[in-house]
Every structure is written in C-alpha cells, then in structure tokens.
C-alpha cells in the first residue's frame, strides 16, 4: 500500500458578503474526484490543531478547507486575532453561515470535486456546523463534535450576534447529522445531548449520536489534556464511515 499524497496551503476564499479571507486547504494529490469537507474551528481561533484536522481529511481522500472565521479582525497572528474577537463577544452567526457557504463554494469550484460537501465543527464550531447545516442547502452531511449551546438554557446568552438557538432551527435540517459527545462534558452536558436527540427524533431527522464514557470536551484534541486516544480513534472511524456513506458521488 501507499499513503495518500497531499498538498496543503493557505488560500483565499470569498466568505460572507463576498469578503475575501484566508482559509487552510488540503487535498489529495492523486488524480480523481473527491468529496469536500468544511472544517470549522473552535472559539479560541484558527489554530495548529485545526490544520492537522484538515490534513487528516486529505490523508483520507477528502479535499478539506478550514476558513479563518476571524479574518476580518486581523491583521495579526491567529491567537491574537482570536483574543480580540473573544473580547468583542465573538462573531455573528449570520457571518459564520456566510463564510461556511463561501467555503463550500470554494470546494465545489475545484476541478477534483465530486460535487459533495460535508461540514464538521468542534466545540463552538460544532454549534456553527449544526447551524450552517440547518441554513445551507449547500451542505450534504454534517458532523457536530460536542457543539455547546445548540440548546440554550439561559436565554440571556442569546443576543444580536447569536439571536437564535440552533435547536430551534432543527426543522430546517435536511441532511444527515452525526453527533459525537463526551459524557463528562459540561457544555453540552449529557442532559442537553439527550434533549437535542429528542428533538431530532421527534422531527424524524436522519441522525446518529455516539456518546463516550470517560471523555469530556474536546477529546479529539491531541494538544490538550482532554485527549482520549481510544475514544478519539473510535470517533474518527465514525466520522469517516459517515462521510463515506453520505458524500460519495
């Protein structure tokens, strides 16, 4: 056997309102048609780990792109820009959905696209992925990795930037959803995951949820003490099985 060759680089893409921003993009180098995946980073920002995730998808035969959701708040290093965005209360949901839409367009415009595009997000990015899949017909399958505040129990958390709880858009979800969660997580906690599943079930949505014991938030993240190798390995296998099923041309 041989491992998949890949090429990775920072590219320009058009996001919300046609704004031009930067994104990290990786693709297999062999000839062929490949599904695409939009990778949505967590709240602290566009970090090294998210570039590893993008390359992992390319390694497994996907063209993947991670838009820098905070590019408008530059210039500066991604960590400084992330801190600036946090201090300003985050980015508007509408803008993130627009950036995700732009990233799907970037992937479909590539000559080696098979026409299918999935989305995956981690932490706040999991929430963004859920939201984007409810709002965008351009997304064919979505993976929510421990997205917090999909269910919003404290209405004070809703504001001009985040006006709607994603759970309230679930009736608009038209594509398969895979959810991965750690049972020790605090946000979303086990009760919130159960209530999210109850809404999906009641509305007859195509979903599968997997819950992991002895895992909390961000258990895929090899840069954190939260990393759980066994649970992460199983979770990644679920992700790739899900995309093989739903993103084939």
């Amino acid at each position: 056997m041989s491992y998949e060759g890949l090429a990775a680089e920072t590219v320009a893409f058009r996001g919300h309102n046609g704004d031009q921003g930067e994104a990290y993009y990786a693709q297999p180098t062999r000839a062929g048609k490949f599904p695409g995946v939009v990778v949505i980073h967590h709240l602290p920002g566009w970090d090294e780990w998210i570039t590893e995730v993008v390359r992992k998808f390319a390694h497994h035969g996907y063209a993947a792109i991670s838009p820098h959701l905070y590019f408008r708040d530059g210039p500066g290093s991604p960590d400084d820009v992330g801190a600036r965005v946090r201090a300003a209360g985050g980015v508007p949901d509408e803008q993130v959905v627009g950036d995700a839409k732009g990233a799907t367009a970037f992937l479909r415009a590539q000559a080696n696209s098979n026409g299918k595009v999935g989305a995956i997000g981690f932490c706040s990015g999991g929430r963004h992925a859920y939201l984007a899949a409810c709002r965008l017909p351009e997304i064919d399958a979505v993976v929510d990795c421990w997205g917090g505040n999909v269910i919003v129990d404290d209405q004070a958390l809703l504001n001009a930037k985040r006006p709607v709880a994603p759970i309230d858009l679930t009736d608009q979800l038209r594509v398969p959803l895979l959810g991965l969660f750690g049972n020790d997580d605090e946000n979303p906690n086990a009760d919130q995951v159960n209530r999210t599943e109850a809404v999906l079930k009641r509305l007859g949505k195509n979903y599968e949820f997997h819950r992991y014991d002895k895992a909390g938030h961000a258990f895929f993240n090899t840069a954190r003490a939260a990393y759980r190798p066994e649970q992460a390995a199983d979770g990644w296998s679920k992700v790739f099985a899900f995309y093989r099923k739903h993103l084939a041309a």
Partner: protein, 90 residues
C-alpha cells in the same frame, strides 16, 4: 466549554508587547479553552490598550491553581510593598 464570558478589568500601567513597551488600560480575563497551554481550561489574561484599538496584547494562559497562586502573591507583594514604602525613610 467555549464561552464568550470575558471579565474586563480597568488597569493603569504599561506592558511589554511584540513592539516594545506600551500603555495598557484593560485586562481581559477569562477562564476557557486556551490557545497554547496544554490545558483543558486556562485562566487567560490579555493586557491591551483599548483606547488605542487593542491591536496588540500581552497574554498569559495559566492553570487554575497557578492563577490562584498568582492572585495570592500579588496581594502579598502589595501588602509587603505598600507597608515598606509607607515607612519613613531612615
């Protein structure tokens, strides 16, 4: 959890950032996922000058225990220092 909860302390002083010393007026303080420290959660402090647009920062990401240790030592240093400086010169 990923939260947007940031405590803003009004401070007065200077910090040495990427371009050298700068005036600071704000410390953004939060306990959440760090960017760099290999911790699940960190107490982060970003010292910035909001009046100048907060384009640069001096940042730290600390474990919860070490953040409490820092708070305690700041209070001790202030108490000792203010006491010492309050004494009349010999």
């Amino acid at each position: 959890m990923c939260s947007y909860i940031v405590e803003k302390a009004q401070v007065s002083g200077s910090a040495k950032g990427p371009s050298g010393w700068m005036r600071i007026d704000t410390a953004n303080v939060y306990f959440d996922h760090p960017y760099h420290a290999p911790l699940d959660h960190a107490l982060a402090i970003d010292f910035v000058c909001a009046a100048d647009g907060a384009r640069e920062r001096v940042a730290v990401e600390l474990s919860a225990a070490s953040a409490r240790e820092l708070v305690a030592k700041i209070m001790v240093a202030l108490a000792i220092g203010e006491n010492a400086h309050a004494k009349p010169a010999a």
